[in-house]
Amino acid sequence: MYCTIYSGALLGVRAYLVSVEVDISRGLPAFYMVGSLSTEVRESRERVIVALKNIGLEIPPCRITVNLSPADRRKEGTAYDLPIAVGMLEALEMIPKGAAEHMLFMGELGLNGEVKAARGVLPIVRAAEEKGIKECVVPLANAREGAVIPGITVRGVSSILDVIHFLTAQNTDRENILPAAMVDVNALFDSKCQSQEEKRDFSEITGQEMARRGAEIAAAGFHNLLMAGPPGAGKSMIARRIPGILPSLTLEESLEVTAIVSVAGLLEEGRALVTERPFQSPHHTISQPALIGGSAVPRPGMISLTHRGVLFLDELPEFQRSVLDALRQPIEERKVNIARAGGNVTYPSDFMLVCAMNPCPCGYYPDKNRCHCTEPQVRRYMGRISGPILDRIDLCVELQQVEFAHLREGARGESSADIRRRVVKARERQRKRFEGTNYRFNGDIEASAIEKYCVLGPAEQHCMESLYSSLNLSARAYHRVLRVARTIADLEEDEKIREEHLLEASFFRPSPEYWF
């Protein structure tokens, strides 16, 4: 007997359907699995047979052939256990013929028959929905994740016994055996916003006005930010609070983020959607594949896990140069293409880069009372950061040592919610401005389009000229100042860039002239 069951496979953050074809015929007892399978897929043979035996279903001696189609694409992962088991049962006529029609199955089987969590449920369910499949049976742990996709029923199972009951039951009883997972997306967004605000708030940061302002501008215009300052000044503290002042994720963004997290297998059990802006702070020993994505079987790297969020690189000069240099293209293109023997995959990587560093090896430069580093030492330390990365940073702020008195006073600053309101407004202006273009934020404006979006009046033009000469700006730095000034004007709800915006923007410019 022969039958076909649908399952899914991942390609980057997208998925395609895989049909699991099971044939059972008479002959010498054997179990063949074909279809370009990796070891863990091949091993599912043992898991399936033992799991079925342990729930009391003996497989009669027969010749079993399983083919996963399309047979020329490499299959990975353990999520094919469940569809193979269902296919075998149907081929053996243990469940009625056609019971699993228009359904998709995925899940790993334990030897006792339990169904364990799988990777990439969200993109696979989405692909199933697009291909017209009506129902998906997924591990219980991932049911909520799949249920986010409208127009398709997603049922969570914890044991293969439930699946058998479900498939053998009448259509009317089915809902009682395995209820469809339900997720109220709107409620998810409402509740999450609040909890996030409670967690980490800008009001906990004492002083550091300039750094706060820098973070606000960076968030509003999606500029990359560099923070320099002595140890313990609060660089990481600010960085961790930046996701909180970015506008909340939209549903669409949230789906993108969740898909990546799901593909990486990092989504918490029972979680439906990621509703907070991602924030990642990799240690500076991180390898290139871990940051960019890769390995023989491509997996999303840190930059994709922070898609739509904040990638925080603490101790920037300690990162390997080659690792940092690999960031250049993803920053520019907002996606990363990974080519491996197994194929080409593209992961989105639209992140905001926030870096922190000490200004010198001891950390106290330019406070000459505490810093004993010599000029060449400071220069060497700075030189470890690759220039092309510095070129992609629009804003630079310096944090000061917090004085004890300030700490005691606990002078609370503005809360994240207040800052976010301004940021949202500024982003709204940008959205309108860039409607119908490739750009979304001021941080994206390319040099060629600067003239178009950053229009200066005669007085401002003059101001910019004298800034250009007195601050020894390079052409690149000049564009950066204009971009940032555009964002500052947006924050002030000013359509025209004024002189004070230019002056403030130039204050935040990263300059190679500092630090020596």
């Binding site: 330019p366 310096e398 000061q400 800034l467 004070e500 403030e504 204050f507 500092y514």
Partner: protein, 396 residues
């Protein structure tokens, strides 16, 4: 005529002897004394050399002599504009001659110090603060205007800044190097190096081509202080090479002047300590110039007679030099709100938060930032790091 020819020959061999790296200064003096001059040394047998230097050095000297082509090498050196001056020459600076460990030979590129002119050594930290930078500039430019020779080590920081300012003011400056006189160290001072060769002099006691080594600098420092009548310390940490120079200067009987700093500045610790130990204090530049002349007159027992014209010239120049550290003129032409921000600045970098603390409450942080950047734009302030500002030191 004959005498001159003989002198020339002596120089060729002085060049040979002084370019030999493996010999001490004391040994040079003794060797030439025994043999009666560098040519004598060249012609003397290795046994004679052996009476002064160790057998190992003799071997090396033999090897070195075989390769050395006296005339050609000397010509080549001349082509580069480098002269050699030994203690026997009359061009040899009198100030150095009297030192117990006077360098036997000096390689000179440019015009060496003339007798009968006061000279001042300005020394200080390489990693100097904005304050040090400012003082060094002012001091250098004033000494330059008064045509008082400024001696220093052409290092990064105070040394180079003061010498640059002196040259800027069309003064005379001598750079004493810790490397061969044909080697520019630090490389970033290349421009200064060439200007010194043209408008002043570069001096070194090390063989040509010697790279800069840390151990070269203390002996170099004794020449810096030796060439000067007065040594001024602008900024120095508690334990620093500058203080070693000061010790040498005191041993050589030079007057030491110190630019005072704040007690909280680690970069002024060395200076303040010197003040406590009784060093002279440099408060106002023109007062200092007068003191230089007094010291100079006392030292050389001159009673304003022979050098009257020079002195008058200095008086003349003094009128062009401002009466005080010139910060007043900068303030002019500033709108009141910018002036308040300008007032809140100092030569030591201040963070924006500190600056804000010094201003009345009505100043918003955005307007302070804009004001600061405006001052930078007008080159009255400088953003030393992303969050710190200092007054810009101006030579004029």
């Amino acid at each position: 005529m004959c005498m001159e020819k003989w002198k020339e020959r002596e120089k060729i061999y002085a060049c040979w002897l002084c370019n030999f790296p493996y010999i001490g200064n004391g040994q040079l003096h003794r060797l030439t004394e025994i043999c009666g001059g560098p040519e004598g040394v060249y012609q003397a047998s290795p046994q004679v050399w052996g009476s002064v230097i160790s057998p190992e050095q003799v071997e090396r000297l033999k090897e070195y002599t075989e390769k050395w082509r006296p005339e050609q090498s000397f010509e080549k050196m001349r082509e580069q504009g480098i002269e050699i001056v030994t203690v026997c020459d009359k061009e040899y600076p009198g100030r150095l001659k009297n030192l117990p460990d006077a360098p036997y030979g000096l390689f000179v590129k440019g015009r060496l110090i003339r007798e009968g002119e006061p000279s001042v050594a300005v020394i200080g930290a390489r990693e100097c603060s904005e304050y040090g930078r400012y003082v060094a500039k002012q001091l250098g430019s004033m000494l330059g205007k008064c045509k008082i020779t400024l001696v220093s080590g052409m290092a990064r920081g105070i040394d180079g800044i003061s010498q640059e300012a002196a040259l800027e003011a069309e003064g005379i400056s001598i750079g004493v190097l810790g490397s061969g006189v044909d080697v520019c160290y630090p490389a970033q001072n290349r421009e200064l190096y060439h200007r010194l060769a043209n408008a002043g002099a570069l001096v070194s006691s090390y063989p040509l081509g010697t790279p800069a080594r840390p151990r070269n600098f203390p002996p170099r420092n004794r020449i810096v202080s030796g060439l000067a009548d007065v040594v001024v310390v602008v900024e120095a940490r508690m334990k620093s090479g500058t203080l070693i120079t000061v010790d040498m200067a005191l041993e050589q009987g030079r007057e030491v002047y110190v630019v005072p700093g704040r007690v909280t500045d680690r970069l002024s610790d060395g200076c303040n300590r010197l003040i406590k130990q009784g060093a002279g204090v440099l408060l106002a530049p023109e007062e200092f110039v007068e003191e230089i002349w007094t010291i100079y007159d006392r030292k050389y027992n001159r009673k304003n007679n022979g050098k009257c014209s020079e002195r008058e010239k200095t008086e003349d120049n003094k009128n062009r030099v401002s009466r005080r550290w010139d910060t007043e003129s900068v303030r002019r032409n500033l709108p009141p709100e910018l002036e308040a921000i300008w007032e809140a600045l100092d030569f030591t970098p201040r963070s924006t938060e500190e600056i804000r603390g010094k201003l009345p409450a009505q100043y918003q942080k955005a307007s302070i930032v804009a004001g600061l950047m405006k001052l930078c734009m007008e080159k009255r302030a400088v953003q030393v790091s992303p969050g710190r500002f200092a007054l810009r030191s101006m030579a004029e």
